[in-house]
């Protein structure tokens, strides 16, 4: 910038700084949230021929391939038209053009897992204005941007499940530790707090939670943290690792150590990562929601919305094929149910 422009530019900036303008404190006129509208008719028949499209966080991701195939099964039962589209990268904004395309194709239902709760909001709103129903699963958007969110599990459900699994394995008595992801991961911390609350119940009075270690969802770090836990607490009876990276790394350490079969391990993991450790006896069982059921439920929820059986209001009920009846909760959320427990008997039925 030439010297004579500098004072001018500074003057402009200062003038603008002085005259206020739109700041964060000046009250936010966030767009009016469209409420669930119309009257639900619980007895309306499910329409056939509905175009139900799945838009995962990214294509070629094994987890979403399984959940989308669950959705495909449901759409086949519903005699609808199934389609899966999506970006090859999980960037915040890369889903937007796909949403626009779907809305342009007059899709009846868009089932999506959001890469960013806000970035796709505008596009989803436009699609809804154009007549599409929007169901989110796995990762929600802002509630005002969709009709329904299918939640894989509640935090309470996960905490109860994890504590129950470890308690059963160590016979309800002894020291346990938690191997978490990062110290500031919101979902992890919520679960850990709820697990602590759960452990205060009388049936768990003989279990002592000694520490929480953080593996940062990094394989190597989780591995060494597990090692450290067992060195610091030689009488440790069990480890809960409610993160897929952590539980797999911990299992790998245990399976190659003297603690194999002696220290119990459970957590949230995927069958493909954990299969060998179930087979070799390092891990007795672990849990996760069934992604295929998640996609299946989301497709049925979308069909119920598009058929007018439900509008998304709390308290409305709909039937989801083989999974049975579901009731919509607050904030238009449907919960899939308690996590699925994987063990030597059922693990070979799952591939994800």
């Amino acid at each position: 910038m030439k010297p004579r422009f500098v004072p001018l530019a500074l003057a402009v900036v200062l003038a603008l700084a002085g005259c206020g303008g739109t700041t964060r404190d000046s009250g936010n006129d966030s767009g009016a949230a469209p409420q669930a509208s119309g009257q639900a008719d619980p007895n309306a028949p499910l329409k056939t021929g509905l175009k139900i499209s799945f838009l995962p966080k990214q294509v070629n991701n094994p987890y979403f391939t399984v959940s989308d195939n669950g959705g495909k099964a449901a759409v086949t039962e519903l005699k609808g038209e199934y389609k899966e589209v999506g970006p090859s990268d999980a960037n915040a904004s890369s889903q937007v053009s796909y949403i626009n395309t779907l809305s342009q194709q007059q899709t009846d239902v868009i089932v999506t897992a959001a890469n960013d709760p806000n970035a796709i909001c505008g596009a989803l709103q436009q699609a809804r204005t154009a007549g599409a129903k929007v169901v989110t699963f796995d990762s929600d958007t802002n509630p005002q941007c969709r009709d329904l969110f299918v939640n894989q599990a509640t935090s309470e459900g996960i905490a109860q499940n994890q504590v129950k699994l470890i308690s059963d394995q160590i016979g309800g008595t002894g020291k346990i530790a938690i191997l978490s992801a990062t110290p500031n991961a919101t979902n992890q911390n919520t679960w850990i707090e709820l697990m602590k609350k759960e452990l205060q119940k009388p049936e768990y009075s003989k279990i002592q939670l000694v520490t929480t270690a953080y593996g940062n969802d990094d394989d190597q770090k989780s591995f060494t943290e597990t090692q450290g836990l067992l060195r610091s607490y030689p009488d440790l009876k069990g480890i809960i690792s409610p993160t897929t990276v952590g539980v797999a790394a911990a299992a790998r350490y245990l399976s190659g150590s003297q603690y194999k079969g002696k220290v119990a391990l459970t957590g949230l993991g995927t069958p493909n990562q954990m299969r060998q450790f179930i087979k070799d006896g390092t891990v007795k069982n672990f849990a996760l929601w069934n992604p295929a059921d998640l996609g299946y439920l989301a497709a049925y929820a979308g069909a119920a919305l598009a058929s007018g059986q439900i509008t998304g209001k709390a308290g409305e009920k709909f039937k989801a094929g083989k999974l049975g009846e579901y009731t919509i909760g607050d904030q238009s959320v449907v919960v899939l149910g308690p996590p699925t427990v994987f063990d030597a008997n059922n693990i070979d039925q799952f591939d994800f």
Binding site: M1, A9, V12, V13, L16, A17, C19, G20, G21, T22, T23, R24, D25, S26, N28, D29, S30, G31, V59, N60, K83, V85, G86, P87, S88, D89, N91, A92, S93, V96, S97, Y98, N100, T101, Q104, Q105, Q106, D116, P117, N118, A119, I120, C121, G122, A130
Partner: protein, 316 residues
Amino acid sequence: MRKPWEITIVAALLVFILVASISVDGFATGRNWGFLLLDLAPIALIALPMTLIVIAGEIDLSVASILGLSSAIMGQLWLAGLSLQLIVVLVPLIGALLGAVNGLFVTRFGLPSLAVTIGTLALYRGLAFVVLGDRAVADFPFGWTGGSIRTIPGTPIPWAVLLIAVLAGVFALVLHFTPIGRGLYAIGNNAEAAAYAGISVGRTKFWLYVVSGAVSALAGILWTLRYASARADNGTGLELQVVAAVLLGGVSIFGGRGTLAGVLAGVLLLGTVRNALQLADVSTDTLTVVTGVLLILSVVAPALTRLTPRLRKASP
């Protein structure tokens, strides 16, 4: 024919639009064109200064990282309580500064721009994460975020396109009708000769990078408002789409050749192909392959069209 490749690319664009309008459902609607133009806005915007830089024989690969860093800074300034009116002035100035760093390394220290801007590509993206981490700032007022996608009344054309059209006019004017523009071609063809002819090569290049930084930051503001989300990873990989469009538009990667009209046609061609194939339910993997093939063609074909007359002349 003085500009055979530009004519080819514009013809290809028109033919493609015609074919897609007839054969792809939902392509030739105002609404779809609104979506399409919004998707292309940041690419078209950054392609303007990129065209000038490539014509001058250099390149700027840090543009998408400047976009991301601008977005992160915008989010952080908003959190700090600054007004958006101030932010939209400050952020392009910061972008200009980031561009000036590139310019300084390329001109003052004479380093190759490819190496310098690959470095700042990583550096600026890293800084973006330092500024905002992996958080997203999303509580911008709806009047601004909604405004960024609003269309000109009565048309499907987003306001952002008008802004780009005006800027494109300015860039075209400078490139094709001023001594500065003629200087850029001269520098691209032979920097040494240009210097002897009295063109201040270093200063011209330096300012190109400054402008590129400022425009990338402007694209960052538009991006943040459009997606209502300030994030450090915004626009990752966008630099490749910009360079692709510029090359497809007939600008020589070796400098000294190209037009702004060709580049805008290149941007539109890449965008319409993607859009039409998506509407026709072509899978994402195939789409990536098609885009790749188109890009290779874009580099090979213009070289061939230039080569053939010479070959003909050479043969007895």
